[in-house]
């Protein structure tokens, strides 16, 4: 066997891993590069020249920043509502035995398993038949987003809650904490990582959603709809700026979380 062959044999798994990572990140790298593109024509998909102009004027294309702002507002509101509701539901599901509990479990899982196009069109039918057909927009999108985020929140928080030893709460009660104190001093801090994960998941689901949103948006335009719409006519490179910024923001969140975790561990040992 040649030396190169031996190298491959020894590092096969590593090499394979890098190839998979490359496959995963290639599209993001393209988006990042294109955010610095100075296209020659309006429908250019090629890298024609380098510029930071797009980063300095991200709002130049008409309607882009309005769409981003709409998406952010819907995302934040949907996250808050879905996380609050979903957390309460998860507590009910884990902590209480009631009739129809397993059926409820199934119903909560159903929206995750259903195709978005089905959910979106049935919601549209619901809105129209109940007289909201003329008022589709921000609020109907919000209602739709809360609906599909809810299942993910319940599932995420439930997993965290189920893994929590109920004796911890009993110990708190035994140590003179009343119900309210027990919840805020023991239950909530222990379940919080699950709630945070659920909130982040909700936000990214909401910010990213196209199919359900598109069906129930009326004349309102969210960021994914803006991207879709502009892809028909022209591709403003600023879209790549927004995409890159969102990716970097997420990256910073993850890195900060990881750094915080490592620092806590260092101070402990």
């Amino acid at each position: 066997m040649t030396r190169f062959g031996r190298f491959i044999a020894r590092n096969f798994v590593l090499v394979l891993g890098f190839v998979v990572l490359l496959y995963l990140f290639a599209p993001i790298v393209v988006v990042m590069l294109m955010s610095f593109n100075a296209p020659k024509s309006r429908l250019s998909y090629t890298f024609d020249g380098f510029t930071v102009d797009n980063w300095l004027h991200p709002c130049r294309p008409f309607g882009l920043c309005d769409a981003v702002s709409t998406s952010l507002r819907i995302g934040l509101l949907a996250t808050v509502v879905a996380t609050a509701l979903g957390t309460l539901m998860a507590f009910a599901m884990v902590r209480h035995r009631f009739r129809g509990r397993s059926a409820t479990n199934l119903f909560i899982f159903l929206p995750m398993a259903s195709p978005e196009i089905v959910l979106g069109s049935s919601l549209l039918a619901l809105f129209v038949s109940s007289g909201f057909g003329g008022r589709l927009g921000f609020w109907t999108i919000l209602i739709a987003h809360v609906m599909f985020c809810l299942s993910f929140v319940v599932v995420t928080v439930k997993a965290r809650l189920a893994g929590m030893d109920s004796r911890l709460e009993q110990a708190a009660m035994d140590l003179y904490a009343n119900e309210w104190q027990t919840f805020w001093r023991v239950t909530f801090p222990l379940v919080f990582p699950g709630i945070l994960a659920a909130a982040l998941l909700s936000f990214s689901l909401s910010f990213d959603d196209f199919i359900i949103t598109n069906l129930n948006a009326g004349t309102t335009v969210t960021f994914p709809m803006y991207v879709w719409g502009s892809a028909q006519r022209d591709i403003p490179p600023q879209i790549n700026v927004i995409g890159t910024a969102m990716f970097l923001l997420a990256l910073i969140f993850v890195l900060a979380g990881e750094l915080g975790r490592r620092r806590r561990e260092r101070t402990r040992s």
Partner: protein, 371 residues
């Protein structure tokens, strides 16, 4: 400061089964009290009812003159050391121990916490998290977290169950020392008879939601009231017998055609079929027909069927003429020769070492439950 804990007519009904059945129990103030029994006997349920984590179906729990059943757990002057400790994983050791004081808005709690950490020898561990401590250290944190509140009664739910044998022995002595030092009533739930005997002043042996017998470790061991106690605390040889008469302060008992005597004070029944009980270390082996027995009971014509040498003692199985095998422990003092399998032997014991139990009970009760 402390007062007696009195349980009256306590029952706990769960869906489908009765965990605790009309239990009466008085735990004197300042004692180390053990609730001993196999798993599922209702001892943990009893403890949880005292703590307020379960409500009794019927009955009352009083602490001195105060009725505490019906109060929420945080209203009771009682603290618990949980099985597997239930330390708060998101708080450091200092905050775990300070938890109860802070909830009661005790001012100036820092020196108290430091002092308590000193008592359980964890002074420098305040900044660590529970997960960074060993099992024994976590156990001591759990103890400190409960004790710092100076409860009237401290409840311990199998607190040493998760520790290895050596550490368990050490913690048994430690717990006993701390209890003597602080003078608080300890109610300790365990299925380990040795643990209960080592630590407790008084043991209540529980079985199927009822208390079988209550007394000091020596009383329970020396004169068990039921076959369950006889088998669950240590081992017992139980031989089928029949009371045939009385002679002075003794009852005369027929054991498969041989007469033996048992002091009247050691008999739970005075007529009919009985179980004659003798502890294995109270039975002596002698070569066949070698001794006359100066007032001791004898069963002749036995054969050694098994010999296990365990260092300090040797454990024999001796088969009696009617086929039953008795267990005999002989100390290896060197004063007597050892026997081997197949030797013909006589069994001797002093009448005051035997006891009589009602034959209506199962001779094997409590046997299979021993670990």
């Amino acid at each position: 400061m402390t007062s007696d804990l009195v349980l009256t007519g306590i029952s706990k009904q769960f869906a489908g089964h009765r965990a605790v059945d009309n239990l009466d129990l008085t735990v004197p103030a300042g004692t180390f009290f053990a609730l001993l029994g196999p798993s599922g006997c209702g001892k943990t349920t009893t403890l949880r009812m005292i703590a307020g984590l379960e409500e009794p179906t019927t009955g009352s729990i009083r602490l001195g003159d105060d009725e505490i059943s019906g109060l929420r757990p945080y209203k009771r002057p009682v603290n618990t050391v949980f099985q597997n400790y239930a330390l708060f994983p998101h708080l450091d050791i200092f905050e775990n121990v300070a938890f109860g004081l802070k909830r009661r808005k005790v001012k100036d709690y820092q020196p108290k916490v430091e002092e308590m950490l000193g008592l359980v020898e964890l002074k420098d561990y305040g900044k660590r998290r529970p997960a960074q401590l060993s099992g024994g250290q976590q156990q001591r944190v759990a103890l400190a977290r409960a004790l710092i509140n100076r409860p009237q009664v401290l409840l311990l739910d199998e607190p040493l169950g998760a520790l290895d044998l050596k550490l368990r022995r050490q913690m048994q002595l430690e717990l006993k020392r701390i209890q003597t030092e602080v003078g608080i009533t300890f109610v300790h739930v365990t299925h380990d008879q040795e643990e209960a005997m080592t630590m407790a002043d008084t043991i209540a042996v529980m079985n199927r939601g009822l208390i079988e017998q209550l007394g000091s470790p020596a009383e329970l061991y020396d004169l068990p009231a039921t076959t369950f106690v006889a088998n669950f605390l240590g081992q017992s040889n139980l031989i089928r017998a029949k009371i045939i008469g009385q002679s002075g302060e003794d009852l005369v008992v027929d054991v498969h055609g041989r007469k033996v005597i048992v002091p009247l004070a050691r008999c739970r029944v005075t007529e009919g079929e009985v179980w004659l009980g003798i502890r294995p270390e109270k039975v002596f082996l002698a070569p066949a027909d070698s001794e006359d027995g100066d007032g001791s009971n004898q069963l002749r014509g036995a054969v050694v069927t098994d010999v296990s040498y365990v260092g300090v003692s040797t454990q024999y199985l001796a088969r009696l003429p009617w086929g039953q095998e008795l267990t005999v422990f002989e100390q290896n003092t060197g004063a007597r020769e050892a026997f081997s399998a197949g030797d013909a032997v006589d069994l001797h014991w002093r009448p005051a070492h035997s006891f009589l139990l009602d034959a209506a009970q199962d001779a094997l009760a409590g046997v299979e439950d021993v670990d």
